[in-house]
Symmetry: C2
Subunit: 412 residues, 2 copies
C-alpha cells in the first residue's frame, strides 16, 4: 500500500491508513453526531464523502451517513465495508482522483470535534474468558475452588447492562450500593470503597442471526463488525454481597466505558494469531477449524489528580482462553439471536505474570497490597479524581494500528 | 363510568372500558405494525383516531401512532397518557361526540388483525422477588441453604436477554445446550430435557432516568408505563451446569414470551393492594411511605397436543416480597439509568400452597413428581407440541380487567 499523501499522519498516531476505524462525531458542543473515520489527527466526514461521490455505485443510502449511530452502516455487510475501506484508502492516497476542491471539507481536525457513543448497543454480554483472571479472582472468592468445573467446558458469561454503556471521556460517578462490611451483621448503603476497572476487549456484532438458529463456530467471524476497548467498571464490595446466586447486578450496572473508535475486523485481520489448542478439547460446536485471536498489546494507566500517575497493567489479548468465535458460537448455541449493535466483551484480560493483571482486585490482592505511585501516594482501589486510561495496539511487520483510548474519570 | 355504546364488549372479555391496553397490530400478513388499543373483540386504530381528531389539542405528533413500537407513545408522560385514556373512553361511550361517519374505520375486529411485539425492549432485567419461589428453588439447588443471606436485604436480580423477547404466539424452539448428566463425567451438547416455563409479571418503563441518579422508591411508580405477563422460558439442566459463578446465561437467553397487550398503570391503579410490611425492615432507600402491589390472579395452563390440557398453576401477584417500586429503586441505586422500553420482570411468582407454584421445577420437584393429565399423560417438563398459556385478571367491586394471554408452543 502506498503512502498517504492527502493528510499528514503523525508517527505516534494509532489511526494509520491500515486502520480507518469508525466513530460518531460532531462539531464541539453539538449533540447530534454522524459517522466518521479517523485518520491521523483528522476525521473523515462520511456524509460529506458520500456527497462528494466517494461511494458512488456502492448502493449505500445517504441516510446511513447522517445517522447518530453506526448501526445502519454496520448492517451493510462485509462486502460493502471492504469496498468503503478501499475507496477511503484510495481517497487518502491519491488526491488527484478526488480533487481538493470537491473534498476540502471532508477532513476535520480532531481538536474541532467531539466523539459520541458509536453504536446503539442492543444487548451487552460479558464473558469471563481469560484463565489467569478467572483463577486469581476465583482464589479470592473461593480459595479452595478457584476454577469451577464448567470453566474449561464453556465460555462462562453473563448479561450486562446496555443502557449504561458510555463513550470514553464520560465521567463515572462513584456508586452507592449495599455493602456488608466485616464490622457489621447487616448491610448498609455506602459509597463503594472498592471501585475497580476491568480491562476487556469488546466485539461489536455487524450481522443479525435468527432466533432458534445457532451460529456455527467456523462462521462466527462473519458476524463481527469490529472491536473496541472496554472498561467494565465494578464495585467489588457491592459485588461480593449481591452476586449469589444470580451473578453481579448493581455492582456493574452503573457504567461501562468503550473506546470511541471501532476498529474493523478487516483492519484486525493481519494481526490474528493462533492461540494454543485447548485442553480438554472443547465439544464439537466449540471446535474451530482454525483458531485465531487478535494479538493486541493492552495497557491501563491510572492518572491521579495533578497529573501524577503510571501504567499499572500491560497485557495482551492473546491471554484469552476462549476466542471471539467460540464466544459467539456458545452465546447462540441454544438459539439466542444476535442483533446488529450487540456488544460481546471478553471479560477482564489478565496475563499470568505480575503486572499483567487486568483489574485492581487482582493487582492489589483485593486491596491488601496497594499500588505505590510517586510522592508516596497509594491506591488499593480507585479514588475520586482518578482517571483510568486504557489503550490497545497491534503491530506486525512494520504495520501498526491502535484503538486510541478508553478513559473515564471517577467523580464523587 | 357509563356503559360503552359504540361496541359490544362480551362478558368474558379482558378488554373492558376500564382497561384499554396498548399493543402493536397489523392487518393479517402485514409485517409493519402500528399502535392500537384493545376493546372487547376489537382494536382501536390509533393512527386513524388521530386522523379523525380524537386527540386534538393533546400535542401528540402523528408519527407516534404510525411507529412500529409503543416506545414513542410510552415516552409522552403520564399526563398525556391519562388524557388519551379519557378521550378513548369518551369516544367509546358517546358515539354522538365522534359521529360514525368520521370514525367508521377506527374499530377493527380482532380476527382481522395480528399482534406484534409491542415494545422495542431496551434492557431486560429479571428479578427473583417471590419468597415461596426462592425458597423452593433454593432447596433444590442448595438444600442446606435455600434462602441466601442477601435475599431479604435486596431484590436479587440478574440481567436477561432482550433480543429474544418475543410476543405471545411465537413458537419456542427447544434449545440444545451443554448439559452434564448424572451418567457422564463430561458435559454433552443435548436438547434440553428440562424445558420449563416461569410465570412472571413484567413492568415496562415509560420514563427515562439519568445515569448517576438513583430513582427514589417513593417516585418509582412514575417510571412505570404498564404491565405485561412474562414467560421466562428456562432449560433447567443447562442452567444447573452453567450458572456458577455468574448466573444463568444460555439456559434462559433463547426466548422470553410477553403478552401482546400492555395494561397501563392507570388501569392497574384501582387494583393496588398493600402487601405485608417486611421483616427485617429494608434499608431506608427501599422503605416505602406506601407499599403497594397490583393484585392479579395469575394462571398457567399446559395444552398438550390434540387439545388435552389443564390449568397447572393458580397464583397471585401479591406473593411478591419486593414491590415493583422497590425493584426500580434497587435497580438504580448505584446510578444505573433506565430507558423507555426497559422490561423489569418479577421473577417466577409462586404461592406457598400446592398448585400455586409458578414453574415446573417447583411443581414437579425438579421432574421427580410428574403432573398427571387426562388419558394417563404425564409431564415432568415440557414436551414438543405442548403449549403454555398464561393469563392474568384483576377484579374488584365489579370492575374487571385482564391481560389476555401470553402463550407459546414448544417446537422441536
Amino acid at each position: 500500500m502506498g503512502p498517504v499523501s492527502r493528510v499528514k499522519i503523525p508517527d505516534a498516531s494509532p489511526f494509520t491508513l491500515y486502520n480507518l476505524p469508525y466513530g460518531i462525531f460532531s462539531e464541539i458542543g453539538k449533540s447530534a453526531g454522524r459517522p466518521g473515520v479517523a485518520i491521523g489527527n483528522n476525521v473523515i466526514d462520511l456524509a460529506g464523502a458520500w456527497e462528494a461521490g466517494l461511494f458512488e455505485g456502492l448502493g449505500i443510502a445517504r441516510s446511513v451517513f447522517s445517522a447518530p449511530y453506526l448501526n445502519d452502516f454496520m448492517a451493510l455487510g462485509r462486502k460493502t465495508h471492504t469496498a468503503v475501506r478501499e475507496r477511503l484508502q484510495e481517497f487518502l492516497r491519491h488526491p488527484a482522483v478526488f480533487p481538493e476542491r470537491a473534498t476540502r471539507r471532508l477532513l476535520l481536525p480532531m481538536d474541532e470535534i467531539q466523539l459520541h457513543l458509536p453504536v446503539r448497543i442492543g444487548d451487552y454480554t460479558d464473558f469471563y474468558a481469560s484463565e489467569p483472571h478467572a483463577v486469581r479472582v476465583g482464589k479470592l472468592f473461593r480459595p479452595d475452588n478457584p476454577l469451577l468445573p464448567n470453566w474449561k467446558s464453556l465460555p462462562v458469561a453473563y448479561h450486562g447492562r446496555a443502557s449504561s454503556v458510555v463513550v470514553s471521556g464520560t465521567p463515572v460517578h462513584r456508586p452507592k450500593g449495599q455493602v456488608l462490611t466485616a464490622a457489621d451483621s447487616r448491610p448498609q448503603l455506602l459509597p463503594t470503597q472498592a471501585l475497580d476497572f476491568e480491562l476487556e476487549l469488546g466485539c461489536l456484532i455487524g450481522k443479525a442471526s435468527q432466533q432458534g438458529e445457532p451460529v456455527p463456530v467456523d462462521s462466527a467471524a462473519d458476524y463481527i463488525f469490529g472491536l473496541v476497548l472496554v472498561n467494565d467498571w465494578s464495585a467489588r464490595d457491592i459485588q461480593r454481597w449481591e452476586y449469589q446466586p444470580l451473578g453481579p447486578f448493581t455492582s456493574k450496572n452503573f457504567a461501562t466505558t468503550i473506546s470511541p473508535w471501532v476498529v474493523t475486523w478487516e483492519a484486525i485481520r493481519p494481526f490474528l494469531v493462533a492461540p494454543p489448542q485447548q485442553d480438554p478439547a472443547p465439544l464439537p460446536y466449540l471446535k474451530e477449524a482454525c483458531r485465531e485471536l487478535p494479538d493486541i498489546e493492552l495497557s491501563v494507566a491510572i492518572r491521579l489528580e495533578k497529573g501524577r500517575g503510571k501504567v499499572v497493567t500491560r497485557t495482551r489479548s492473546t491471554y484469552l482462553y476462549w476466542t471471539i468465535a467460540q464466544q459467539i458460537a456458545h452465546h447462540t448455541v441454544t438459539g439466542c439471536n444476535l442483533r446488529v449493535g450487540d456488544l460481546l466483551a471478553s471479560g477482564t484480560i489478565s496475563g499470568p505474570e505480575e503486572g499483567a493483571q487486568g483489574c485492581l482486585l487482582e493487582l492489589t490482592h483485593n486491596g491488601t497490597r496497594p499500588l505505590a505511585f510517586e510522592n508516596g501516594l497509594m491506591r488499593s482501589y480507585l479514588e475520586d479524581g482518578d482517571e483510568v486510561v486504557m489503550t490497545g495496539w497491534c503491530e506486525r511487520n512494520g504495520m501498526k494500528i491502535g484503538f486510541g483510548e478508553a478513559k473515564g474519570l471517577v467523580v464523587g
